[in-house]
Symmetry: C2
Subunit: 119 residues, 2 copies
């Protein structure tokens, strides 16, 4: 299932781990929503809907449903960490543009990404 | 990132690949919504919201946002395939009960699941 690079497949899935992020930002639901929706646009995806949820005492979960699948995020401000998934059925989307944008916006000091091919 | 079994971590993520499924069911958005929401209940998760989308000419995408993170599904009826992700920040959820239920409901002939620990 796991590949270092994408090959022809049904689903293209990037598992993105952002550590050492801006903790304040990781707790700001509105900002996170803006970033994730903008990331979908950077990928040239078409947004169908989005839903974001703030957790007490801290943390945000959210999903952006795109015509071409989804982006999700879950944040742990207390750990400076965000778990992000970008999944698409369309190999023509600019996934790396989305990943680069997200990484920059969260000012992540430590980033790992893994490519999964699905199907 | 990838482990054969869960260890203590922030996020618990199951990547589930269902092949050789019932193609008619994979194209039935209402049924898929029912199955995914019921799977969340089997896991003892609390549903926050859900969104499902039908694609022409075929295929369904959907997400169930739970207090403890999310479940997503994307189906390719023409390939008898569904890509499912179950993600939670709560180690006490009964994820395997959800996975077993989903697998049975889709009558999958070929199943793989991978455990990712996130964070």
């Amino acid at each position: 299932m796991q590949k270092t690079q994408f090959q022809k497949t049904l689903g293209y899935h990037i598992v993105l781990e952002l550590h050492d992020c801006d903790a304040t930002l990781l707790n700001d639901m509105q900002q996170i929503k803006t970033i994730m929706c903008e990331a979908a646009c950077k990928a040239k995806a078409m947004i169908v809907t989005e839903h974001f949820h703030y957790f007490l005492p801290f943390g945000v979960s959210g999903v952006v449903i795109i015509q071409e699948s989804h982006l999700t995020i879950h944040t742990w401000p207390e750990h400076g960490y965000a778990a992000i998934d970008v999944f698409t059925c369309n190999s023509k989307l600019a996934l790396q543009a989305a990943v680069q944008y997200i990484t920059q916006q969260f000012n992540a000091g430590n980033v790992t990404q893994h490519y999964l091919h699905r199907g």
